[in-house]
Amino acid sequence: MWIAFSLLTVLAALAVLVPLARSGRAQARAGSAHDAEVYKAQLDEVGRDLDRGLISQEAAVAARTEIARRLIAADQAATRDATGEPGDAGRLRLRVVQMLAVVVVPLAAIGAYLAFGAPDIPDQPLVARLQASTQDRSLPELVARVEQHLAKDPEDGRGWDVLAPVYMRLGRPEDAAAAYAAAIRLLGPDVNRETDRGEALVVANNGIVSAEAHAAFERAVKLDPEAVKPRFFLALALTQENRREAAIAAWQDLLKDARGGEAWAEAVRIELAKLGVETAPAGEPVAGPSREDVKAAEGMAADERGAMIRSMVDGLDARLAADGGSTAEWLQLMRALAVLGDTDRLRQVIARAGEALKDDPAALAQVKSLARELGEGS
């Protein structure tokens, strides 16, 4: 870029310097000589007017005399018009102008440019920007602009579709979920969109599979029964609901599709391990809500369900406070409090779990890691 800048500057300076260097002799004749040319043309014109009958013979003679007089005057002026070689004053002028071209022009132009220009901002043609990686450092700003565009034209499904994963990457899962919802509404449902929407909801919900997310995953599975990701989350939901047998079955079902080496398969094994399958030490089964309770909960309206969960949480909390309990129970309480969004109490429970399980480093690690997941890590 600076090469082009210098080139232009040099050209500009040369435009001043080159003519200065040339001798004045090459220049055209003095002005009076030009005048003579014009008067000669006028003489011709008088002839034409006479020919056309616009003027009389007499008038033509008079006009010719008049023009001839001017012509003579011009010729005399031309002979007087001898320009001598430049003297001292001329040399001074020359030096001043040369300085102007060599020093002032480049300095002024570059100085002004540095003051007003933005040499650090590259060209950003739209096509190139759209092709460029989304890991661009100005990602949040790009998102803001797309948001502006969507605010004006909220019916642009493609826009929502593009925006949603960017929101996820930026750690704005609620917005991502809403964006996926809009994309689904405008572009129609699709396995990936439903799954990603569900995932966004789960992340937004601190890892808990809510009913809404659950529904999204179910729709995704309906669209593609083979899809791994929605099934993974459905199995996770079962685990979180403490439906142990159903969860184990779901995880194992998922594991059958693994060809080996997949990252998710490893995660499935870990989940199975937590449920005490295969590698698991014989952990005590957690006393969760009974099948009937869950069935009842499913039939309830959201706030009723919230109340039911609250009552179960209170019961569990009281029991743990009074008698202590297993690691799994502490973890369950933490998750439940996170679902209820009761962060103050969640923090207390984390502290109490830390106290109660202080002799079991493995259990402590589990509590800490879940606390981090739930956004309460320290």
């Binding site: 500057t9 001043v16 200065l20 003027i55 002028r93 901002i121 060209d123 950003q124 602009r145 797309v146």
Partner: protein, 658 residues
């Protein structure tokens, strides 16, 4: 990098313009040829630099580079490519860059083709052009820089007003600007001549082609704008005496006067003082127009975003240039030697009359344009000066001008013989009277004014033809010699005739439309038809059509004449979806020189529509006449004699051989 290069080129152009302001003028005044010689290459470089800046901005538009504020504000990635380019000058900053580009272009043209101009005059002229360029570059860099960046860049722009997304509007501003700004070089010539004390016949001969060039583009630009308003705004009008239209019309009137007074000055050495004044005034009126449009003093379709700083800056430029040049004029003009004398009845006399009437007409337009502004500023009273004012003041001034027009070219220089010229014009007068009588007979005596108008138009057109025929002298030399004489006539003679005939043609169109136009406003339902002129329009109903960025409700009309279907018209009500902006797309069908014009208003629930329907007889002549005038200017420009004084021997031999 391209954008920043454009920005740098613009700044460098400003710095170079400062050099161009000083060095050549210094050289011209002190007689130093080397300093004078700096002017042409610097003017060329100037054009190159502004050209780079303009290309860089255009590139940013075409590639939708939203890191440029100007692009964000005025473009949209989904806009058709053509309108991405025209969007460059569809806004204040970009159009200003185009303004400066044309300024630099004229400087470069004088540098390239002005070899026959004396070195000192050329240097001083380019120097003065440098002042104008520097002033506008400073204005642009200080208040309206098109290269301001946005970081981080938005992903999408705000789009251009849909009404501006039109081919007509794409061409109109550049033409108009070349005209407007072209007069800057004439202004520079005038100021340079005053500085050097060289105002003579030769000066007039050098100035004329530049005046002609600017005048031609201004004529075409105004005509283009008028036709655009006619077909795009859906009101069926072609001239509204809108202040912005007036802003372009005043320089046209003054420029036309200048074109004529320069002839007197060239041929007879007279009217020097006046011609120089006109050259200054013409460009001053261009500047005034720029000020009115850009300062926010006027609210109009054309007026761009307003900003008090810009208004003040432009006012400063206006005052400095107009005040400075008039002061210089007052100081130097008395030193000019008066040229040849002439009798009141003579070619010169006729041209003086032309100048008098055109200048006074320009003043009446100026008064009509500025009076409401002045009155509001002084008394807070709000008024509008509309067409009635201009019809009453401008019209009567044009009538004597048009009556005198055929006489002018036939009168001899110095002292003409009115009786003899009148004799030559008997046939023309006869034709004009015949045209009047036929019109009165055909249209009824109550339209006697219109008949007289048609007669006047016939008088002007036939007068122009008669002038050419008289030059050929068919009567004296016979047909074949006459034809060869006709062929050998100088371009300027043809230019005069075409220019005058063009005015007549435009006048005929205006008279025909004003007097014989038929207009109907009605509600029409599918299956119904309506008669206008000799035509019957049958309405076929409305249909919805979807365009790239709009939705049309298109009405279909079959047009019948004498029972046979001759054409179809499809006017539409258009809604630009992005901005929810409705526009009216008129349906225009041309029959010969006349047009049927339909536009749709309210659409009714039962499928009917309110329509406005016109039969506009001879309406196309209004713009055809302007084209003829422009053609006259082109022919004149190719007149070999305008290039006289070129010291190249080759050309002399050529001339001798002819």
């Amino acid at each position: 990098m391209i954008i920043e290069l454009g920005h740098f080129a613009l700044i460098l152009a400003f710095v170079l313009a400062l050099v161009q302001c000083v060095v050549p003028v210094w050289g011209a005044v002190s007689g130093d040829r080397r300093l004078m010689a700096v002017a042409p290459p610097v003017a060329g470089m100037q054009f190159l630099l502004v050209g780079i800046a303009f290309a860089a901005l255009s590139h940013a538009y075409v590639t939708s580079d939203f890191s440029v504020l100007n692009v964000v504000e005025n473009s949209h990635s989904a806009k058709p490519d053509l309108y991405k380019i025209t969007g460059v000058w569809g806004n204040h900053e970009g159009s200003l860059l185009l303004w400066v580009l044309i300024l630099a272009l004229f400087g470069a043209l004088v540098a390239a083709f002005g070899r026959n101009i004396p070195a000192d005059l050329r240097a001083a002229t380019l120097g003065v052009q440098g002042w104008v360029t520097a002033a506008f570059l400073l204005f642009m860099l200080a208040t309206s820089n098109p290269f301001l960046r946005v970081s981080p860049a938005p992903m999408e722009g705000n789009d251009l007003n849909p009404i501006l997304q039109d081919v007509g509007l794409a061409i109109h501003p550049p033409l108009l600007y070349i005209g407007y700004v072209g007069f800057s070089i004439v202004f520079s010539f005038a100021i340079a001549a005053l500085l050097l004390g060289r105002v003579d016949a030769a000066w007039a001969r050098w100035v004329r082609p530049w005046t002609l060039l600017a005048w031609m583009f201004l004529t075409l630009g105004i005509a283009m704008g008028s036709y655009w308003a006619y077909y795009e705004l859906g009101w069926g009008g072609y001239w509204f005496w809108d202040p912005v239209e007036n802003a372009s019309f005043m320089p046209w009137l003054a420029g036309t006067a200048l074109l004529h007074s320069a002839i007197v000055m060239e041929k007879r050495g007279a009217l020097k003082v006046w011609t120089v004044l006109l050259a200054i005034l013409t460009f001053s009126l261009s500047l005034l127009g720029t000020f009115l449009v850009r300062s926010g003093v006027l609210t109009s379709v054309h007026a761009f975003a307003t900003d008090p700083l810009r208004g003040t800056f432009i006012l400063g430029i206006l005052v400095a240039f107009i005040g400075g040049s008039l002061a210089l004029y007052a100081w130097r003009a008395p030193l000019l030697k008066q040229g040849g004398l002439f009798a009141p009845v003579s070619r010169e006399g006729a041209l003086v009359l032309n100048n008098l009437l055109l200048t006074v007409a320009a003043v009446s337009v100026l008064v009509g344009t500025l009076y409401p502004l002045a009155l509001e500023a002084l008394t807070d009273e709000k008024i509008s000066v509309g067409p009635p004012f201009f019809n009453l003041t401008f019209g009567p001034l044009m009538v004597p001008l048009l009556i005198a027009m055929p006489f002018g070219p036939l009168l001899a220089w110095k002292r003409g013989d009115l009786a003899a010229v009148s004799q030559r014009l008997y046939a023309v007068l006869g034709l004009a009277l015949a045209a009047t009588l036929v019109t009165a007979w055909a249209q009824g005596t109550e339209k006697i004014l219109a008949a007289l108008g048609v007669g006047l138009a016939a008088w002007v057109i036939c007068g122009a033809v008669a002038e050419i025929l008289s030059r050929a002298r068919f009567r004296d030399v016979g047909l074949s010699t006459g034809l060869s004489r006709l062929y050998g006539l100088p371009g300027s003679a043809w230019g005069t005739a075409l220019g005058h005939a063009g005015i007549g043609i435009t006048l005929l169109g205006i008279v025909a439309v004003s007097a014989f136009e038929e207009e109907k406003v009605l509600t029409i339902r599918p299956g119904e038809s309506v008669e206008i002129g000799d035509y019957r329009l049958a309405f076929g109903g409305l249909a919805r059509r979807t365009g790239p960025n709009y939705i049309d409700d298109v009405g279909h009309f079959d047009i019948y004449r004498g029972g046979a279907k001759v054409a179809e018209a499809d006017p539409a009500k258009r809604l630009y979806t992005a901005r929810r902006m409705p526009t009216t797309e008129a349906g225009i069908v041309t029959f010969g020189l006349s047009q049927i014009y339909v536009s749709i208003g309210e659409v009714h629930a039962d499928g009917g529509a309110d329509i406005r329907l016109y039969h506009k007889p001879l309406v196309t002549l209004i713009w055809l006449g302007c084209l003829v005038m422009g053609g006259g200017a082109v022919v004149s420009l190719f007149d070999r004699r305008l290039r006289v004084g070129a010291p190249k021997p080759a050309r002399r031999q050529l001339a001798a051989a002819e």
